[in-house]
């Protein structure tokens, strides 16, 4: 008889000491029973182990749906073999580059270019398209092919948290360094480091109008970046509750004025630079006096900005807001404030480190019980379809594969790196579940499965699937069993007997017919798998 779940202070203490935490098992999952073993090769019979501090209530099936961009054939079995919590720790403690980076060895020079070098690229004919296309296809391939899936999911998360619309001004060439350095460089590091990097990111300062934020002009400061720094990047607003005033926004705009760019004709042109002639040097006090600076001499003020951003990064409201968003991402559209508060305590106790915070969320009963509670966003849906079908694609950033996938994301309402507003793409189902959105999801799944995603004319560069190669060998006896196998082994969900029967009716075949009734007819096979990826259960994670 278990003695029950540890209370919150005990959990927090044990998280630091590494002692084993006593978790009351969460309520049984109602949506994802353990999948039946596929009739293909059985997984290795290594007994699952539980890492210290791990969550025994997690299943391989749910954690693959939750922490990756979707199942790949064989991944759930591999996670089971490794042990759910061992795999989770491996994802949390990544080292080195992921397996997708080798695909970017050729054709992606702008990812590592300096801002000045990327300016030169943009300034050439078609240069901005080359910059943007390299960003887009690099990150689509990372999501599809990287083995560091949780890292890629977190890059997507932070990329939206610190969203920048790269077409806001002519300086779109700055966006690459922001995403590669600010977002990808800190996605599993410390939030305070990331916030400081963002506040000194030329692309962000350009996008949110801090370059023209010039206290010396007659009109005074520009509030745009200051407001979003507070509202979207740090303190946040949760359910209408905000921790700052209009006067604070104005004060922050003054403190941060002068955070701008090097404009001189040097190698570091377009990199961050503090411009004292734009900076407001008058005395300022905000956040109830918690942040106060006296009047400054000309040339001073940069350190005040850094002090301010550090203050914001470590503010309790920031801890809650960041954790609220993380829980929205991984658990539910409507986070419980109990989990938000406990995660915020971990975030604060670890000097804003992201990994311990994630570990805490993944160890929670709420997380274990959250299978299927989130709707895959269009980007996640597209990548999940590509992973489920082991799709291949060309690596060229401006090839047919890249163009077809980019267009598909656009049609589904989530063009990559094109969110116009600084809040990033929303992370709740009410935004994404719409008539047009569903029609385009279903179309993407169907097109991938019948090899019609994008232009197929270039046989060396196109998105391709080989569905026959995915089928189990030997095949199960009947169509009914084959469809059940597809749902589990490709889609990582369990389909009901009624839904199988309805599918057979729609296909005009009988469920008890031999499985080759489906597999020997290419059109029927692509239709069947395409529909498996269009089932309501595959839209959830």
């Amino acid at each position: 008889m278990a003695t029950g779940c540890d209370d919150l202070p005990t959990i927090l203490r044990k998280l630091k000491t590494g002692e084993k935490i006593d978790w009351t098992p969460g309520p049984p999952s109602t949506t994802v029973p353990p999948p039946p073993p596929p009739p293909t090769t059985a997984p290795p019979t290594v007994p699952p182990t539980t890492a210290p501090g791990g969550n025994p209530a997690l299943t391989a099936s749910m954690i693959v749906n939750k922490l990756t961009f979707g199942p790949k054939p064989g991944l759930v079995a591999a996670v089971t073999a490794m042990g759910v919590n061992n795999w989770l720790e491996q994802q949390l403690t990544r080292s080195g580059l992921g397996t997708a980076e080798s695909r970017l060895a050729s054709g992606y020079p702008t990812l590592s270019n300096s801002n000045m070098a990327n300016y030169t690229v943009q300034d050439s004919d078609g240069g901005q398209d080359r910059l943007f296309d390299q960003m887009d296809h690099a990150n689509i391939q990372r999501a599809v092919y990287s083995d560091q899936q949780l890292f890629e999911v977190m890059c997507d998360f932070w990329g939206n948290h610190f969203n920048i619309w790269r077409r806001h001004t002519w300086m779109g060439f700055l966006r690459t360094r922001d995403y590669e350095d600010v977002v990808r460089g800190n996605a599993m590091g410390k939030f305070s480091t990331m916030l400081l990097a963002s506040a000194q990111s030329p692309s962000m300062l350009d996008y949110l109008d801090n370059l023209p934020n010039d206290a010396s002009t007659p009109g005074g400061v520009n509030q745009n970046y200051a407001r979003e720094l507070l509202e979207l990047h740090s303190l946040g607003i949760i359910n209408g509750v905000q921790a700052y005033t209009e006067a604070d926004v104005q004060a922050v705009a003054q403190i941060i004025s002068g955070f701008a760019l090097e404009w001189g004709n040097v190698a570091t042109k377009y990199d961050f630079k503090f411009l004292p002639w734009q900076h407001s040097r008058t005395a300022v006090s905000c956040f109830g006096g918690a942040v106060s600076f006296p009047a400054r001499a000309y040339g001073q003020g940069y350190d005040d900005g850094i002090t301010l951003v550090n203050y914001l990064a470590h503010h309790p409201a920031t801890a809650r807001y960041v954790c609220w968003k993380l829980i929205k991402r991984f658990v539910t559209d409507t986070p419980s404030m109990a989990l938000v508060d406990s995660a915020a305590a971990v975030f604060a106790a670890n000097d804003t480190a992201i990994v311990p915070t994630l570990r805490h969320i993944f160890a929670s009963a709420e997380f274990a019980a959250s299978a299927g509670q989130k709707i895959r966003r269009p980007f996640e849906h597209l990548v999940a379809c590509l992973r489920a079908t082991n799709a291949t694609m060309g690596t060229a950033p401006q090839g047919n594969s890249a163009n077809g996938l980019r267009w598909s994301l656009e049609s589904m309402g989530q063009p990559i790196f094109e969110r116009v507003t600084p809040d990033g793409y929303p992370d709740h189902q009410a935004f994404w579940v719409s008539s047009d959105g569903l029609l385009n999801r279903w179309e993407a799944a169907g097109n991938i499965c019948r090899n019609a995603m994008g232009d197929q004319s270039d046989t060396a560069d196109r998105v391709r699937v080989d569905l026959l190669s995915l089928m189990p060998n030997p095949l199960p006896a009947t169509v009914n069993e084959l469809i059940a196998w597809m749902a589990v082994s490709l889609g990582n969900y369990v389909i009901s007997a009624q839904d199988i029967a309805d599918m057979c009716t729609a296909l005009g075949i009988t469920g008890t017919a031999v499985a080759t009734t489906v597999t020997t007819n290419a059109g029927r096979l692509s239709l069947t798998v395409g529909l498996v990826l269009s089932h309501p259960s595959f839209q959830r994670r």
Binding site: S216, G413, V433, L439, G446, D502, R540
Partner: protein, 451 residues
């Protein structure tokens, strides 16, 4: 019955027994059309740009100017001394302060000159980029302007994101998660088929709720595609996405299938759907949306409420001078105005049964900032257009506008819900205003809508 919808109820779920509308009825009505045949026949009515039963009320078109539109530029208090003083470069100028070294001063403002031929009164002038809206709907007396409009102090926010949510839900209270247009439709009878359409890939929050609402990117591509056999795919998806399960994903899938059946009988390529009355829609995304909305109205598919967006109003810098035809704000204002006036011309007498209203989440600061733009402010201006709208300027406006040290912006003197309450009740037969705008205490009508 006026009980508000609970926050915990995800939008789009249950039949509302108080609405006089049952989703089962809706689905039963369209189930027969799941195959090739459709119950919708485009008959004689499409000569009228109107709902099939005008007694149901007008088609309501809600235009959201996203980003916080500068109402002081759209409709400028151009003779106010404080307005002139606070906006050195971006203000709409009066002739007596306009000097034009290039010799254009004798031309109308929309041609670069100084004649304010868009003056609406001694106080207000429409932005020079909005010539078409002035020449058509305003001159015909079918355009109402309400200035200093927005959310009152108790519910205001300078956040785009919370502000847009509040305007679309009709309240700043976090106890609501359905759109005010959806709650309006829930109180109407005879709501079926494609009653509520949001233009674009995602459904606008103003339409979210228990009454089936559809996001539609284009009229003609609204169908299942991408499979080796799309008919079979449609049959499977129809069987899987179950209506009435209380789940948004399933319900939306089921509604979508039903709507495909409804639209399947409409041939949008026929000449009956070309713009009429000589209307020319400009080449812009927003204009195309209004053109397709006019087609949907003509198609008689049961349309009652439409939500459509025009973005790009977050003008923190570089708005430019209104008299410069190339200035960014002027181009945006022209895109907006030209699309509205084309829609008005296209529908012609059909505008007897169509009312279009515009909102934006806030206006902008009165003073021009150091970057030639304006920051987040408070009051903005609204437009209401229709042939049963009495043209003119309505509502209170401050006698002077000052650079208030706390806000530096235009005080809201006219709650946008006062305007829309009148529109929805007089033109839309709404009788459940306290449900539509639950935290708003009803005020007397401004008198802009004709019954």
């Amino acid at each position: 019955m006026t009980s508000p919808t609970s926050l915990d109820t995800a939008p789009g779920l249950d039949d509302d027994p108080t609405s006089g509308f049952s989703r089962r009825t809706f689905l039963a009505g369209t189930a027969a059309t799941a195959g090739a045949a459709a119950v919708v026949t485009v008959g004689t009515r499409y000569a009228f740009a109107s709902p099939e039963a005008p007694s149901n009320g007008d088609v309501m078109v809600l235009v959201f100017l996203r980003g916080g539109a500068d109402g002081l530029s759209l409709v400028a208090p151009y003779n106010m001394a404080t307005y002139r003083a606070l906006r050195p470069t971006i203000r709409v100028k009066a002739p007596n302060e306009f000097t034009d070294p290039t010799g254009k001063a004798g031309l109308p403002m929309n041609q670069g000159g100084a004649i304010p031929n868009f003056a609406l009164s001694g106080t207000f002038a429409m932005h020079p980029g909005m010539a078409s809206l002035h020449a058509g709907p305003w001159t015909n007396g079918h355009l109402a302007v309400v200035h200093a409009a927005g959310m009152p102090a108790a519910e205001e926010t300078r956040s785009h994101f919370d502000g847009q949510k509040n305007f679309e839900f009709g309240t700043a209270s976090w106890n609501y998660s359905t759109g005010f247009l959806n709650r309006y439709l829930a109180g109407q009878s005879g709501v079926d088929r494609l009653a509520a359409v949001g233009r674009g890939g995602q459904l606008q929050r103003s339409l979210a709720g228990g009454v089936a609402a559809f996001s539609m990117y284009s009229n003609t591509s609204f169908n299942v595609s991408g499979y080796s056999n799309n008919t079979r795919a449609r049959t499977a998806l129809t069987s899987w996405y179950d209506a009435g399960t209380g789940d948004l994903l399933n319900q939306t899938g089921a509604n979508t299938m039903a709507a495909i059946g409804t639209l399947g009988g409409v041939n949008f390529a026929s000449t009956a759907f070309l713009p009429q009355n000589g209307a020319v829609y400009p080449n812009s995304g927003f204009a195309n949306e209004l053109k397709e909305i006019a087609q949907l109205i003509r198609a008689n598919v049961g349309l009652r409420c439409v939500a459509v967006d025009i973005g790009g109003w977050d003008s923190h810098d570089g708005m430019g001078a209104p008299e410069d035809p190339a200035s960014p704000f002027r181009q945006r204002a022209a895109e907006f105005a030209d699309a509205l006036s084309a829609f008005y011309t296209d529908l012609g007498s059909g505008m007897d049964e169509v009312t279009l209203a515009t909102i934006s989440e806030f206006g902008r600061t009165i003073n021009e900032n150091g970057s030639g733009g304006t920051d987040h402010g408070w009051g903005s201006s609204m437009f209401v257009m229709g042939r049963k709208i009495r043209g003119g300027i309505y509502g209170a406006f401050p006698t002077t506008i000052v650079d208030d040290p706390q806000h530096g912006d235009l005080t809201v003197m006219n709650d946008y819900r006062r305007v829309l309450s009148e529109v929805l009740s007089v033109r839309g037969n709404a009788t459940n205003l306290s449900t539509i705008f639950p935290t708003f205490s009803q005020q007397s009508a401004l008198g802009l809508a004709l019954s």
